[in-house]
Symmetry: C2
Subunit: 453 residues, 2 copies
């Protein structure tokens, strides 16, 4: 396997700042989609860039294995999170660099590098089955039929993917979906996430004044929107991390004893959290373990806040408005729409008189659980065991992949989440990385998985 | 009086972006100081730019009236507030423009334009007493001895002024201080502020993590610094605007009945506040009127807040830290140092385990009250009556002028606050303005005041 030539190509892909949240990067989004489409064409796939209401989806297929073979739908996303705070990056987030065996770049773990493990696996399989080594990949035959669906809106909640899958149901039909957008526990211990949390992501604006005013002249006589937004946030959770929105926990699935025992075998403990995050303490709902909190309990976090004067030194104003981005991770059997309504109703019910409160829904995704007893999960287990030397541990993830719920609900197939990141990769954080060692293991495991089916 | 030539010169002064809070404007701060020093020299004053630990002080004197005449110390400041949010300005804050009889520019009311009413008054007095009209201002004699002290740190809490005044006590000795950095009630109704609130301005940092982390993987297991800072802010005031810091109100002077009656005659009501600020409601401590709240009650406001992702769209992170600028306006007989200690102790006592809380003191100023029975206040009353047709109303201001307390405490003289702004001038806000009509009245009133002494 020529890792260097794969890395060279991946670096090209990583250099495109395809930040889906920022409209100024619309051109880069399109470049990343076209980059993929061209790559698939070079591999002999039929490939297209398909429009949606938002960013396009790249579709590619190679069905030459024939009717008797299974079809695997491989999902990935070519969009990335915004890299700020930029000053915390050691090197440019869009100029990939290798340091101590790791590739550093925005999106290398989430998800461009992991997605590329599938592209490289396909290229390897095509090469090795090609009649003539000269024309290599073009001529080879894959052990299964393969379809790729690669979206550009994962980091903004996959808002147009449900509709896209619904509309392209027939084209996308497959026996199983595979995707790499999660991580292993260690370099030798793989994980399979058999469930994901959903999300309800909102933006809140609190306005109390027509303009910014002098805090001396008016202080004591007008409502300060920053104090108000802080009061609202403070009323969303108590000091023990319990969410105070009425009805919020009503439909949360309660795990049975056996499930709790299984889940708590996953070696994700206070120690790992403290090491990975630099936190001084682990803090969460009292009656649940860290694994239960991450995988089975809903949470609420403020992801951003701003208002008033935020520059150097003092400025004595009361601003006219203040803003916060507030998201909730949801779990089975909560429904995103219902949670949003509960959130909105609660905030509107506690906001003081004289305050203009505007709530905007930025994205949602449902939570999902997969059936792990099928032959496809067995194929993954076998592949992992061969490459890693260890069977995967099954866990419930705290993260969200909007596509996974849509694929399960609309196409009726399970997703095998074969992640090759490591817990300290810094997804969504400065200095995101992916280990080259894990990258290679990913390619090899994917090859085995496709062969095993 | 040639208003146009004064405006031309003032526009020059206004064009210097002398923002004291931002170190990138250090050069502009020095330019503004030198601009003043040159102007005073042209007027025949002895003038110097004197260094402090921070931004320099401009001192100028003309003592030609002789020993038998009183000495008036005129205070002003050449620094301005930061103009952001810039997108809310109709024209460039540092390119002065006249619209409908108003000058629009950052600092035109606070304080460059108001300070300039004294410079123009001096120039008029010098011209009219000059033997030869050719050499005009150079040769004239003022009716009193005049000293100017003009600082460059008013907007950042006059942090080096106390020490400067203490050190230059003898040079600055005078019978009274006059300054224009406040406003009239209407174009025909002048006000004299006989008291000012002080301030304690802090910056708070809450840190819970070593880096920004993924809100899915870690949400529910780590403390979110934005939620924590919101909780802390929420615990500083209750919903009725009472400050919850233990001991905070202990030394607040209680007004007697007569004082309350007098103060409540000032026609500053709910109606004015709503009109001037665009607020939907007036909100403050229940047992006090709007005048009492503004002039005699301490307040607490968050002036700025920031943390996490504040750009377009969603980003699912828990940031490592969050920040807020929190200030308190203080009143007699609170002491700034004591209030800061109370604030710090309270926050440190309520911050949860595992949170790193850093509190920085950005600026302080004491509150002050003046004796209004002296002949200097009579001189001001007479001047106002002549120019405005109405006697001034005495009120207590909610604002802070750090210099006023320092001058009273160190030099032992009262300050006559002769403000020529209007309530809707938008100090510290976008589109700050000063009416040309009021500017001219200011020059005339100052001339009368100096003659009356």
């Amino acid at each position: 396997m020529n890792t260097n030539s794969y890395l060279k190509e991946l670096f090209d892909f990583l250099s495109i700042p395809s930040i889906s949240a920022q409209s100024s990067h619309k051109k880069d989004i399109n470049s990343a989609a076209v980059w993929l489409q061209k790559k698939f064409t070079r591999l002999g796939f039929d490939s297209e860039v398909l429009p949606t209401e938002g960013h396009p989806v790249v579709y590619a297929e190679n069905l030459k294995a024939g009717n008797k073979k299974a079809t695997v739908l491989i999902y990935g996303h070519y969009d990335v999170q915004s890299p700020d705070p930029l000053d915390q990056w050691i090197t440019d987030p869009f100029k990939p660099e290798i340091r101590s065996g790791n590739i550093y770049a925005r999106g290398v773990a989430d998800d461009k590098g992991q997605l590329y493990t599938w592209i490289a696996a396909i290229e390897e399989l095509l090469k090795n089955t090609s009649v003539s080594r000269e024309v290599h990949s073009q001529g080879g035959i894959l052990p299964v039929n393969v379809k790729f669906i690669i979206e550009g809106e994962e980091e903004i909640g996959s808002k147009n993917l449900d509709e896209f899958i619904e509309r392209n149901r027939a084209i996308l039909s497959a026996n199983v979906c595979a995707l790499s957008d999660t991580h292993c526990l260690t370099e030798s211990q793989p994980l399979i996430d058999y469930g994901l949390r959903g999300i309800v992501y909102t933006q809140v604006k609190v306005k109390t004044l027509g303009r910014d005013v002098h805090s001396g002249i008016y202080g004591g006589n007008v409502l300060n929107p920053i104090n108000i937004v802080a009061n609202l946030i403070a009323k969303l959770k108590d000091d023990d991390q319990n969410i105070l929105i009425p009805g919020f926990y009503d439909s949360v699935r309660v795990l049975n004893k056996e499930e709790r025992v299984q889940l708590n075998k996953v070696p994700f403990t206070d120690k790992e959290i403290i090491k990975e995050t630099g936190a001084e303490v682990v803090a969460g709902e009292k009656d649940f373990s860290v694994n239960e909190r991450a995988g089975t309990r809903p949470t609420l976090d403020v992801n951003g806040i701003w208002g008033g004067y935020t520059n150097e030194g003092p400025k004595t104003i009361i601003p006219s408005s203040a803003h916060a981005k507030i998201s909730m991770r949801i779990v089975p059997n909560q429904k995103a729409d219902n949670v949003y309504v509960q959130f909105e109703n609660y905030l509107q019910s506690i906001v003081p008189n004289g305050v203009e409160l505007t709530i905007e829904l930025l994205s949602t995704a449902e939570s999902v659980l997969f059936e792990t007893k099928s032959k496809y999960f067995k194929a993954a287990e076998k592949a992992y065991e061969k490459v890693f030397g260890n069977k995967p541990i099954y866990e419930l993830s705290g993260g969200t992949i909007g596509a996974a719920a849509a694929i399960k609900n609309t196409l009726g197939i399970d997703c095998v989440l074969m992640g090759y990141g490591l817990p300290d990769d810094g997804l969504h954080s400065p200095n995101e990385k992916l280990s080259i060692f894990m990258f290679e293991k990913g390619i090899k495991t994917n090859i085995e998985f496709l062969k095993n089916i």
